[in-house]
Symmetry: C2
Subunit: 256 residues, 2 copies
């Protein structure tokens, strides 16, 4: 794709796969802001976090090519898609990476497991301003119209302002009308009752993942879960430096 | 396993799979400190980060059962192993989780992609003091003796002192003799030249992951890569709250 036209170049990925309604809604929205390159998983990659394929080679194929848009699918994870696009397929660094729109929330501790956020974190490692966008609705046919408006607002601002090195944005949008956008923190909590025991065709035990999110700070109105529960979209700035700096001094006193 | 004997209960996982030399060395070392439950991937899961299996059910099997040791393998990721053990198989919360010993470094930005650290982060989410241990040697037959000594030293201290909520430890050990243990920060940098292009049996393009770590702070003697390059084991405390708190105020001024 020839992107010598001064338009922003926007890289899009997701974890639900290239056929999901969420990514296709996002493509339409981002084409209003710039030229778009899609590098999306061929298959469903929900819950893939920042996983990379170490044992299988990657393959890729163009499935759409129009004025201002080129779209590839790839047999890998969301992070594989971003890495492969940036290492091998793009002539220049994108101005923005947007991952999503995920079918389902990536608020709270889910940020850790999310392939959508994995792709955004990877863009951030490559020093590209990066955003992951999720709608709190798992249905295949969810209505992404409000979420696209939020995505365009945030993307426009990020294209203008940039983001600090090592920080990307985790944007979650509630189902239905959106009252506004709140800047928030990652809600502390964990998933519980995570498995449903079942049996396969010959009677052997199998375990399917399920679960409920246990919110440890329901009354914290700075948290992303609070914002979502109260009708607001939530933006959490996410760091890629995981160092717990405030524990370094104490750890040094251990004298290991 | 009956663990009513006042011995610490230690949960072990890894990402190289239950047959790897690294985990088997770690099991021997941790049995000196307490009763051990192993829940390890059946297959190689390197680079799986905090991935969870959302589309496939999990299966598990006991492959070793002795006094003070019970060992399961599971067809899932490292995080699946930890989640399944804690949700469905353990009668009580372990006193410690140790993941590894990984065949290869998980220092610097590799912490993001590491299944070894994914398992430790999961233990941390469950409020178990958790440690990921890696040796900077990829070979299947690496010598884990020095690393086991480091693992025992750190595990003994963590059993005594505990760890703050939301913090686990990423321990990397250099190949060969270890000069000592340094408390360190996650080295800033990224992987480059990440793919080797090749061709499959019918001549189609495939891409294999490879790459070089580009260290952005080679002279920072607080960083984990510096410690390792200078013969020290490096311990980085790792946070599970990814919120970039120091960007919140600026983000609020964006008035989205």
């Amino acid at each position: 794709m020839n992107n010598n036209n001064n338009k922003p170049l926007i890289l899009i990925s997701n974890d639900d796969g290239y056929q999901a309604k969420g990514i296709n809604s996002l493509i339409d929205a981002m084409r209003e802001l710039g030229d778009v390159v899609v590098f999306a998983p061929q298959h469903h990659q929900s819950g893939m976090s920042s996983a990379i394929s170490t044992l299988q080679p990657l393959r890729t194929k163009i499935y759409r090519h129009e004025e201002g848009l080129i779209a590839y699918h790839c047999n890998g994870t969301p992070v594989d898609c971003v890495k492969l696009a940036l290492n091998e397929f793009l002539d220049r660094k994108p101005d923005l990476l947007v991952s999503g729109i995920n079918h389902g929330s990536n608020a709270g501790i889910s940020v850790i497991y999310s392939g959508t956020i994995g792709a955004a974190i990877e863009g951030c490692i490559f020093e590209i301003p990066s955003i992951g966008v999720s709608l709190c609705d798992h249905s295949q046919d969810a209505d992404f119209s409000h979420t696209c408006e939020v995505a365009k607002t945030v993307a426009t601002k990020v294209l203008k302002e940039g983001l600090p090195q090592g920080v990307c944005l985790n944007v979650n949008v509630p189902k239905g009308k959106v009252k506004g956008i709140k800047i928030a923190t990652q809600t502390q909590g964990k998933w519980t009752n995570e498995y449903k025991k079942s049996y396969d065709g010959i009677g052997q035990d199998v375990y399917w993942i399920t679960g409920n999110f246990e919110n440890w700070e329901e009354n914290n109105n700075d948290s992303d879960e609070w914002a979502l529960a109260n009708g607001y979209a939530a933006i959490v700035p996410v760091k890629i430096d995981l160092t717990a700096y405030n524990f370094i001094d104490e750890l040094k006193e251990w004298e290991l």
